[in-house]
Symmetry: C2
Subunit: 220 residues, 2 copies
């Protein structure tokens, strides 16, 4: 059994490993909002417990056991987010912090029943896939909106930035999950993108476009 802190480390290492091959001490420290020296201490402990492979100065990798533990936390986090949005009417920008706490509740039975109660959802309110009880989930095949060309169409199916400010901004623009879009223009000057929605046209900055994920209906 892991402590809450150990669980948080495992989850963060897991998420970092999705982006970079080599998970570095400093990166973990930043995510954990702690100091590199503390990370080294914890990594040693996780290595002793067989949850990560660790070679001094060479970064860290999750073991099979460690990855399974991490995926379990991610599963819980995302199921709780669905609960908060679907059942308690939270907004998609309000759920993350509470889910950070709820993800540590230790009861297999609870999560199985919650999953069932929610109708075995496949994705959380941000479009992220929810692992099933065996830790399996479909590799999502999203394209960043920024990569689309003028004329391309698609559906918003995820975001790669979960800050409340960003999510509220999208909400205000009407760029929520499930919305069908078409790229009507890309400005050379600042890279901002003009998007055609069903009922209106909106303009988003390049920075925003980077963090919207699209399941493409096919390129133009």
């Amino acid at each position: 059994m892991q402590s809450y802190t150990e669980e948080n480390y495992l989850k963060i290492i897991y998420h970092l490993a999705e982006k970079t091959t080599n998970v570095q001490t400093n990166a973990i420290a930043e995510q954990m909002q702690t100091k590199p020296a503390s990370v080294t201490d914890m990594i040693k402990k996780l290595a002793d417990k067989g949850l990560v492979d660790y070679v001094k100065y060479q970064g860290v990798t999750l073991t099979e056991t460690g990855r399974n533990a991490a995926i379990d936390i991610v599963r819980k986090h995302r199921l709780w987010e669905v609960f908060l949005v679907d059942k308690l009417n939270f907004k998609w920008d309000e759920v993350h912090d509470v889910a950070e706490e709820l993800e540590h509740i230790r009861s297999i039975e609870l999560i199985e029943r919650l999953d069932e109660f929610l109708g075995f959802p496949k994705a959380d309110p941000h479009g992220d896939p929810i692992p099933d009880k065996n830790g399996r989930f479909a590799k999502t095949q999203f394209i960043k909106l920024i990569e689309l060309k003028v004329g391309d169409t698609g559906t918003i199916t995820g975001v790669s930035q979960h800050s409340s400010a960003f999510l509220k901004h999208l909400e205000k623009l009407g760029l929520t999950l499930g919305k069908k879009i078409k790229i009507s223009d890309v400005t050379d000057f600042d890279g901002s993108v003009e998007i055609q929605l069903a009922d209106k046209q909106v303009n988003i900055s390049r920075e925003v476009a980077k963090h919207i994920l699209i399941s493409s209906n096919g390129k133009n």
Copy 2:
């Protein structure tokens, strides 16, 4: 803001204070499953924080602030128990341990919305009253079943023992919350009680009868 451990101490002190005027170090230690020496340490800390009044060797009392904090934990515990039973189909003997964890989740918004989602329940699955968001709840006026006389009638509205073994036993006998009962006999020899239910007659030991709470329809 209190740590999980501090919250557990406050809750236990609150519950002990319901039974005895003077809450003793040893009693707290037993409930917390820890040693008296550790309790003394923690009591000092709680006293420093203004959550309890403490005089060496004279036991401990909750301050206004401490009691409010305790009641808030109790509220959360009981609301989560209702959620587990009403929404996730847990049995009344399965919810306590999970609620022990859930009660520490820190989000006022979460609890308000959960309360609403559950329909502002007044009692938890064991018949215990749920404080409202201002910490107010009706003082329950229950009588122990053991105190009833032959011919008395009433409704089962609570239990004063929450162990799984006890609750499962009641379940098997059909002695669940809301059931109407009539005392048909009390055995002199062992104090066991014969109870008339709507559809059947059951016999319970004196020990069991002590822990069933009745809202009396009036004595005979």
